[in-house]
Amino acid sequence: MSELLIKNVRIVADGYNEDEVYQLLVSDHKIYKIDKEIKSDTAEVIDGKGYLLMPGLIDMSCKLCEAGFENTSNIITVSHSAVEGGFTSLVCSPKTQPCIDTKSVVEYISSKVKTYSPINFYLYGSITKNCDGTEIAEMGEMISRGVIALSDGGTSIQDASILRHVLMYSKMFDIPVVTRCADKNLCKNGCINKGYYSTKLGLNGCPLEAEETIVARDLILAKYANARIHITKVSTGGSVYHLRGSRKRGINATADTCPQYFTKSECEADNYNTIAKVDPPLRTQDDIDLIIEGLRDGTIDVISSGHTPATIDTKDMEFENASYGISSLETALMVTFTALVKNNDFTPLDIAKKMSENPAKILGLKTKGKIAVGMDADLIIVDDKNAHKINAANFVSRAKYSLYDGEELYGKTLVTICGGEILKKSI
């Protein structure tokens, strides 16, 4: 039985003082013991040198691209960039080719990730067949093969009656329905936020109301269906407002946003910078402030990476033709840590909740998301003391560009451990 002893770390978990160093023993892929002093003669030792020990991050929104888009990315490259960025569990978009909309596709991709990935992969089953929003997919069949939530990826279901039926039907299985919110007609041809910069650049804009009307609609549908809903990739302040109200009215709704939506605004797209072409688009400083407020008061439960690894050749073209995409797995924690802990009043524990504990709760991953005895040994050691320069050219991901290229950020993952196995060690 292999053992791993992690020494001299400040544990980020409820009940632990972040100023004190602890030792943590991993045995049989689980956290076995946490104490001030642990003795073991057989265990492999990692000296944490006083850095933070956080639970491995769980990403609720990331694109795998395999099967069907392997020229962009695949299981191996996505896993490696996840390890680099501190993610030990990924839930992948069902928008593969073919879509994850039948049990056989679920089985196929599950078997591939088991073979090729060192980290935990979970799958979304698509809500509608081919993620096209018209016909409900065989969710029960997919759930029986291991799907842990339902989603149509980046596609928003336009027909309210279909979503209403989906929400009602999903209650049989007690899993969340994850929806992306964008009114197709309102954001027609829009490739950046509709506002000052869309006018300045002469580009069609996607207005805030395209997201907010659908957020409101989805929450209302969830209320009357009395079902669980998770709104993904919240990008506007108005959406936060709707979500906050829904909580007060007892709607069973959760939500996530991505680091770019609380750190970067629409001005990044100036000069037709296609690196800033993301879906949903970057909004305004007001939205950034309101999203941070939503994160602070718990209206937004989760921070996901939103990793969409379009390669640079599909970015190097006319803005309207360029791909939507962001290379985010390797920067998500650093961006979040710097924006919320260093430049704001969040604690590392708040971040661990948003990026590990809450996703685990929402997805029903009972042995993940926290550092406690008996939990899975998915752990990361994070440098909260020193800033590290982002150099996109050195990304493990094939998408070697970043909105944060050249920035000095805190919260770099030094060690990644998944199921007790050391996958990355640069300490």
């Binding site: 869309s198 300045k200 002469g202 037709y272 006319e318 803005f319 309207e320």
Partner: protein, 310 residues
């Protein structure tokens, strides 16, 4: 002379002095256009590629004549299928470069395309319209016309009427006029006005009479095909009731107010027939000035290149 650039892409990133330089040079070119022998040697031995990704008749003719009067070798290409990623502008630019093109006059249905091309090639790039973003030479010819008639720009009020949202000429005019200290107003149904335009210093109206008050210039824009507007507009029939430039509207403007239009105004909807045929409507001047402006731009770009080469 402050104009020394490799490319001419937009009126947003150009200075007031540069605009004046171009307008002055265009006056010289206009003089050349009035001569019996219009041929000049400024672009001898140079090649000009007219690269259009959209169908066009008048603009192309204007550019082509401008380049010919300057003595350049001209190739005219119309590329179909801009949606096709294999036909992207970077590859086309590289191809033209390898074939020795000195200037590329580019019209493309996507905003920012000319800027992207300019960053990729050594040839001088002239933006002849990028999506709904800008058509800077078309705006310069409007500025030249205004300057010619009004003598200058200080304190003028220019009112732009119509579909600003879809008009790259309007955008270029707005950026240029604002730089020259002009009081710029737009008037149209709210569905035809780009968002946040007021933040740039433009006054936005929904009522033509209010907007026309004390105007020195009224610029009417060309409407797109009626069915392309969908729910943005009830009908042209209704549009004309509120936004057609009529003698009654001109009563609100200054007595010497001039009426401009980018070409072939719709007499039923955009401008009253009587006005079009009057001497207040100066679309013919605009056409001549268009050639002069394009000659000036090609000339100045070639000078800028020479400076850079030296």
């Amino acid at each position: 002379m402050s104009f020394s650039r490799k490319d001419f892409i937009s009126l947003q990133d150009i200075t007031k002095d540069e605009i004046h330089d171009i307008l002055e040079t265009a006056e010289t070119m206009k003089f050349v256009l009035g001569q019996k022998n219009k041929k000049t040697p400024y672009l001898n031995g140079k090649s000009v590629i007219i690269l259009f990704y959209e169908r066009s008749v008048r603009a192309k003719l204007s550019y082509e004549l401008a380049a010919q009067y300057l003595g350049a070798n001209i190739v005219d290409i119309t590329v179909p299928g801009v949606e096709d990623r294999h036909e992207n502008i970077n590859d086309m630019g590289r191809t033209i470069e390898q074939m020795g093109g000195d200037f590329i006059i580019c019209r493309h249905p996507m905003a920012g395309s000319a800027k992207l091309l300019a960053e990729k090639v050594k040839a001088g790039v002239l933006n002849a319209g990028d999506g709904i973003n800008e058509d800077p030479s078309q705006a310069l010819l409007d500025l030249m016309t205004i300057k010619h008639i009004k003598g200058g720009f200080d304190g003028l009020k220019v009112t732009i009427v119509g579909d600003v949202m879809n008009s790259r000429v309007a955008r270029s005019n707005i950026w240029g006029l604002l730089k020259l200290g002009v009081n710029v107003c737009v008037v149209a149904p709210p569905t035809m006005i780009p968002t946040h335009l007021d933040k740039f210093g433009v006054k936005v109206y929904y009522n033509l009479k209010d907007a026309a008050k004390n105007s020195d210039v009224i610029m009417s824009l060309r409407l797109q095909a009626e069915d392309s507007y969908g729910s943005r507009l009830a009908s042209f029939n209704e549009y004309k009731d509120y936004f057609k430039v009529t003698p009654e509207i001109l009563d609100y403007a200054k007595p010497d107010c001039i009426i401009m239009h980018p070409g072939s105004p719709d007499r039923r909807v955009e401008i009253d027939s009587g006005i079009i045929d009057s001497d207040r409507c100066i679309t013919d001047d605009q056409i001549t000035n268009g050639v002069a402006i394009r000659m000036a731009l090609l000339y100045l770009l070639s000078m800028g290149r020479r400076d850079m080469d030296e």
